[in-house]
Amino acid sequence: MNKKLNLRKATPWISAIGLFVIWELIVRIFNIPPYVLPTPSESIMVGWQFHDAIWMHAIHTLYTTLAGFAIAVVFGVVLGALVGSSRAIYDAANPLLVGFNSVPKVALVPVLVMWFGIGTVPAIITAFLISFFPIVVNVATGLATLEPELRDVLRSLGATRKDILIKVGFPRAMPYFFASLKVAITLAFVGSVISETVASNVGVGYLMLSASSKFNMPLVFAGLLVIAVMGIVMYEVFNIIERRSTKWANRANQST
C-alpha cells in the first residue's frame, strides 16, 4: 500500500519530466532552430542566467495576480451571495454577468490604460475581472441549490433569511467556493500576464514581450515556465486549503 502511495505521489513528476524529455528530443531530432522552439534545457539555462531579472518580474506578477485575485474573492463572494439568495437579483444580474464574461479581457486592457495609465493597476484590474466570474457562479450555485425541505425545516423554526444563510447556506456553499478558487487563481495569472504583455514595463508578461522582440526565445519560454510553476503552486495551495476546510464534501477519496 505504501508503495502504491509513493507511486501516486511520483506520477505528476514523472509526467512533467516525461514532457520535457519528449520536447527536448523532438527539438533535437528535427533540428528545430531555437528562435522557433528552444529546448527546455536551454530555456532553463537561460532562465538561470537571468534569474535575478526573472525573480524580480515574477514576484511582481505574483503580487499583481494575488491582489487582483483577492479583490475577485471579496467581490465574487458578495455578488455570489446576493445572486444566490434572491431570485430577482439572479434574474437581473445573470445576463449582465454572462455578457461581461464573454468579453475578451484583453480588449479591455487599452481602456484600463486610458483610465489608469500603464503598469500595475490595469494588471491588477484585469486579473480581477477575469477571475471573479467563476467565484460568483459557484457561490451562487452553492446557495441556490439548498434543499427546499431544509429551508422549510428552518423557516418553521422561525429562522430569518440571515439565519438560513449563516447556518446552512454558506457552509453548504463552501466546497463550491473552494472549487472556484482553484479555477480563479489560474485565470488571475492569465489576466495579469495579458495586461503586462500589452501595457506594462514590469512583470513576467513584459519580460516575455521584450525578450521576444530581441528574438530571445529561450527567455520567452523561461518566462512561460515560471508562470506555469507559479500557477501550479497556487493551485496546489488552494487545493490543500479546500481539502482541509471541507473534508465532509470529499469523503469519497478520504481512504487511501
Binding site: 431544509l150 425545516v153 418553521s156 423554526l157 429562522a159 464534501a249
Partner: protein, 261 residues
Amino acid sequence: MSKSFVELNDVKLRYSEGDDLALETTNMKIKKGEFVAVVGPSGCGKSSLLKLVSGLMPPSEGTVLVDNTEVNGPLKIVGMAFQNPTLLPWRTTLDNVLLPMEIVKPHRNRLRKHRAEYEERARKLLATVGLEGHEDKYPWELSGGMQQRASLCRSLIHEPDLLMLDEPFGALDAFTREELWDILQNLWMVRPFTVILVTHDLREAAYLADTIYVMSKRPGKIIVARENTLPRPRDQEVTFTQPFTDLVHELRSHIRDVRAA
C-alpha cells in the same frame, strides 16, 4: 373558544392565481395532542396541507387557525421531518440535533452559555431513539434508518407543540420502518404533541394515528375522517389482529374508490 388546536375552515389552495385548485374546500379540526394521519393518492396535496398548517404557504381562501390564532406566516414552533433526512453533512449528529436550538427563541440566546445542559438534553433524546454512541459521527457515517432517527430528534429537540411528518419513513426498509413506528409512538406517549403525519402507507396510518383522513385525488379533498380506537400502546402484534386488518382494508377500499373516480 374552540377546543381544537389546529383548525382549517373552508380552506382552498391554488399554487398561483388562475391555476386549478390544488386543494378543494377542506375542513379539519385537530385536538391538542392528537395524532393525525393523512393518506391519499400521490399528488393529492397532502404535503401542501402540511405547508398550510405550518404557515409556509398561505391558503388561497379560508382560514387556518393554530392555538386559536390565525396563521399568517411561518409558525415558529413547528418540528418537521421529511422522507429525505436533510441532515447537514458538516455537522456531527449531535450538532445536527442541536440546530433548532440555534434558531428557536429563547434557546438561541441561552445556547452558548448553557451548552453542556443542551448537549445533555440532545444526548438523552438520541438515546431514546437508539442512537447512543453515535453522537459524534457524521451523517454519512450513519445508515438511512439512523439518519432518519436523528432527523426525528432534530424535529423534537425544542419540544414543539406541533410535529409535521411528510412520509418520514417512506425510503426505509420494512423492518426499520416498523421499528421507527414504535420509537415515534413512544416519544409521543411520553410527551404528547400534536402530530400530522402524511403517508401513503395505510398500515403506518392505522398503526400510529388516532384519526385518519383520506384525501381524494387532485383537487385534494378530505372524503373520510376515520377514528382509530385501537388501544395504545400498539405493538407489532396488533398488526396481525382482525380490527387492524379490517381498518387497513377499509382504508384501502376508500383509496381504491378515489383512484377510480
